[in-house]
Amino acid sequence: MSRLAVSDVSVRFGGLLAVDGANFSVESGSVIGLIGPNGAGKTTLFNVITGLQTPSAGSVTLDDRDLRRAKPYKRARLGIARTFQRLEAFGSLTVRENVLVAAEMRKRWATTRYDAGIVADKILARVGITALAEARCEQLPTGSARLVELARALAVDPRILLLDEPSSGLDEDETDALGALLVALARDGLGVLLVEHDMPLVMTTCDYIHVLDFGRVIAQGTPTQVQTDAEVQRAYLGSKATM
């Protein structure tokens, strides 16, 4: 069992408080949703968790270990992997090489020996992009490149997986497949933190949801609770909207 905890994290960019005392946790075996309108601070929180952004206050812990001094690569080695909202696939490498880089890196701190090539191929099959293995990433459409990022993140064998809008660029069927994959990953013991705008996907895959607005967690609960929360409807969906 692993547990990623974000405690009282605030991030200030000049005069803008992008994240304001955010509190939540992600545990193995669950899919946790992090939703909120654009600019709510979701990606900034991801950057804080992975060490790309230093928080102005608060802390991030993994299994009660404080990550404050851990550089991004250390956090990856401790078991936190992520995808990016703005694509960060290794463009000049092929899809398989993208995954291979991560699988080969993972050997550095893995306790068991394995063949990185076989692991990469297995992950490509699981994410459903085996057919694209030899394509160069920069030539892929957005949706496929997001799946490459997901496969690459899985290749470091994470305990906690952060996904930043993984479904954008995917069509409806592909999104369904992604949802099923996330549920299956959680069943295998992975903790997933999902930032997503596709509400059906969030509602069908997440066990628990945190709603962020203006950097603050304004509501939390199961999908049903969040859907009926009056404040969420006001802040996030507008007063007349329904989910």
Partner: protein
């Protein structure tokens, strides 16, 4: 990070005091002496500020860092000479025409023809195009204005001035100072009170937002280049009187490196801080010339103060954030060769070089030898710049370090292992440079290596542990009973060495580490989040690169036979970097291109000597750089692409692209044609749905869930 900067500042201050005490010339530090210092330093600071302001205006509005800034100033100085001295125009008309008519027009021409196409390109491409222009402009100036004929520009109001603090402040220098001060006021007015200036500031703040609000980024860019070019010309004309115009390289660099240092103080944005930087630099230089005396091994230090200051200022910068992938798609079509096919290709290359060697005259044979030696040095940039994306202008400096170590540790006796020592000596120097400068990124890293290259070439390599200002005997070897003394035999040895290193590099590119380097170049942020230790990786690749350059340095030393530090001149190094980028920096064949690029021109010159052919040697590499705007992968890829249809089983990238487009269109047409058959005219069957799911690769879990 404040404390870090404070510590760095204290260390620098302590170093300054220690150096001053050590090298004190003996003059009293009286009030009058300080007044003299100011009288000399202020006008110089004004000239530097002019040049640096031009650099900053262009960089901040267009994102292009203009290495050719100093060369534009140099050209302007010669044009001014032509108008004023040769054609006898009056000073004011000559200045006006040069600075306010020709220079802005030249800037606009540059922007329209070249710089506009650099927006959004890779940093290496942007930098190399302007480095190419720098070398090309120097080539043009050498061709038009023979450096062996004296050119000197008279001062404004020669021999006249007024006395301050017992020294004469000439009108020329007084004008330089006044122009710089007027410029502060003028720029302030321009940027805050005119439409053009406000548009410029808007573009600096947010280019796309400015464009949405009706600012034409292209017009702003043209205006910035016109202004930058004009400022460069003004600085060039003003400094021409103070420097030796026959040394074109130094005239070019006389304003360029100080402008870099001053602009670095202003973080490439702030004009007041840039002025402060210019002032500090001028004060340091005048302080050194008035109060300090450097002799012997340190004799070159006063000339390298701008480089030292540039390096120090860059190191005080806070660590850069991790780089995210660039939004612009880089066009990289270069195939990654597999070790086996590379081995075959390299064997062919060795035979081809040996064969060409037998056809060449003795003079050209020697040139080819040197070319392959330089190609070996250029190989060092393939992993560093080509794969890892780290900009370095210092390969030839590392070659110099390698050559010195080679000579000291057995090279003078012709021991083969001395080559290894050369490589091993250069590697830690590379690692240390990366350790110090590795926090920097992109342009700043490039500038730091540029400063390092100059300092190493002039100061480090002249130390007793290196060349000590002399030339060392480094004979060609006799190994296993084979003498490599003749140029022909040595050519074979060199090409085998090149092929071996190239093969190792190709194998490395196909290894986990090679993929990691490319991953780091494509996105540092993503590489870090899969566990890549960027710091460690950068140090390793710098060390590897320096080792290859060091090995190449040993081979070059054996080629020369007698080696001195001037064989590793930084400007030659700059040209070598340019040539491999033109050839293709991610490819080992790009290094061959870099080494032998000038050979055809040299041969041409033998048969048809004219000053333009001679000039072409410098002009050609410069303007060849313009080609990389069109083919960023380099000339080798472009050439191979052109020949590809002739090779069975290979098609050119262009043909493949066209084929892909055709296929896409055909597929789209086929899809459209099929629509009526699917669903619209007849309902989906379970089979059709199953087939669609299979084609889309929808995971079995989902399919199971549906059922």
């Amino acid at each position: 990070m404040r404390s870090r900067q404070l510590v760095a500042g204290l260390v620098l201050a302590a170093a300054f005091v220690a150096v001053s005490i050590q090298n004190w010339a003996g003059n009293d530090l009286s009030l009058k002496a300080i007044e003299q210092l100011l009288v000399f330093a202020l006008p110089l600071a004004g000239i530097y500020a002019l040049a640096a302001t031009g650099l900053v205006v262009v960089y901040s509005t267009t994102g292009v860092f203009n290495f050719a800034q100093g060369a534009i100033g140099m050209l302007a100085a010669f044009v001014y000479w032509q108008l004023k001295v040769q054609w006898g125009w009056s000073t004011w008309i000559a200045v006006t025409v040069t600075v306010f008519v020709l220079a802005p027009l030249f800037g606009i021409l540059l922007e329209r023809a070249v710089m506009r196409h650099l927006a959004g390109q890779d940093l290496v491409i942007q930098l190399m195009v302007t480095v190419g222009l720098l070398l090309g402009f120097v080539g043009i100036a050498v061709t038009i204005w023979d450096p062996n004929v004296g050119h000197s520009v008279p001062a404004f109001f020669p021999e006249q001035g007024f006395q301050i603090a017992g020294v004469v402040l000439t009108w020329h220098r007084f004008i330089a100072l006044c122009v710089a001060l007027a410029l502060v006021v003028g720029l302030r007015f321009l940027l805050y009170s005119t439409r053009a200036g406000i548009a410029m500031r808007a573009v600096v703040d947010n280019r796309s937002l400015a464009a949405l609000n009706g600012v034409s980024a292209q017009q702003v860019s043209m205006f910035a280049w016109a202004l930058g070019s004009s400022l460069a010309a003004l600085a060039g004309v003003l400094i021409a009187n103070e420097t030796d115009m026959s040394a074109l390289g130094s005239l070019t660099l006389a304003t360029l490196v100080p402008a870099f240092a001053a602009a670095a103080v202003g973080r490439m944005r702030s004009l007041p801080l840039t002025y402060l930087g210019a002032l500090v630099l001028a004060l340091l230089q005048q302080f050194a010339s008035l109060f300090l005396s450097f002799g012997g091994r340190w004799a070159q230090v006063p000339n390298r103060i701008p480089e030292i200051m540039l390096f120090a200022v860059l190191l005080m910068r806070p660590a850069a954030n991790l780089r995210f992938a660039r939004l612009t798609a880089t066009r990289r079509h270069a195939r990654v060769a597999k070790p086996r096919s590379a081995a075959a290709g390299l064997v062919v290359l060795v035979f081809a070089i040996a064969l060409v060697g037998t056809l060449l005259s003795s003079a050209n044979l020697a040139r080819l030898d040197e070319g392959i030696g330089l190609a070996l040095v250029a190989l060092s940039l393939v992993p560093l710049t080509g794969w890892a994306g780290q900009v370095s202008f210092a390969p030839l400096a590392f070659a110099g370090v390698g050559a010195a170590a080679f000579a000291h540790w057995g090279g003078t006796q012709g021991h083969p292992w001395a080559l290894l020592f050369g490589a091993l000596a250069a590697a830690p120097v590379g690692a240390v440079l990366s350790l110090i400068a590795g926090r920097l990124q992109g342009l700043y890293l490039g500038l730091a290596t540029f400063a390092f290259a100059y300092f190493t070439g002039d100061v480090i390599l002249n130390q007793p542990f290196a060349f000590n200002g002399q030339s060392l005997t480094t004979p060609r070897p006799t190994w296993f009973g084979i003498s490599f003394n003749s140029d022909r035999a040595y050519l074979v040895l060199l090409s085998i060495a090149f092929a071996l290193v190239a093969f190792l590099l190709v194998a490395l590119r196909n290894s986990a580490w090679g993929r990691r380097l490319v991953a780091m170049r494509d996105s540092e942020a993503a590489a870090a989040t899969v566990g890549v230790n960027l710091f460690e990786t950068k140090i390793a690749v710098f060390a590897l690169s320096a080792a290859i350059a060091g090995l190449g340095g040993g081979f070059l030393a054996m080629f020369y036979g007698h080696t001195a530090s001037n064989a590793f001149d930084a400007l030659v190094g700059l040209a070598l970097v340019l040539q491999i980028v033109v050839g293709g920096v991610a490819l080992v064949t790009g290094a061959v291109f870099a080494g032998v690029f000038r050979l055809p021109i040299q041969i041409l010159q033998d048969h048809w000597d004219s000053k333009w052919i001679r000039g072409l040697q410098q002009i050609a590499p410069g303007f060849a750089a313009l080609g990389i705007i069109q083919s960023p992968d380099g000339a080798v890829v472009a050439i191979a692409d052109g020949f590809a249809p002739l090779i069975p089983g290979r098609t050119s990238e262009r043909a493949e692209r066209a084929k892909r487009t055709r296929e896409r269109r055909a597929a789209a047409r086929a899809r459209e044609a099929k629509i009526p058959q699917l669903g619209l005219t007849e309902p989906f069957t379970a089979e059709t749905i199953g087939e669609i799911e299979r084609r889309l690769g929808i995971a079995s879990e989902l399919a199971a869930g549906r059922r």
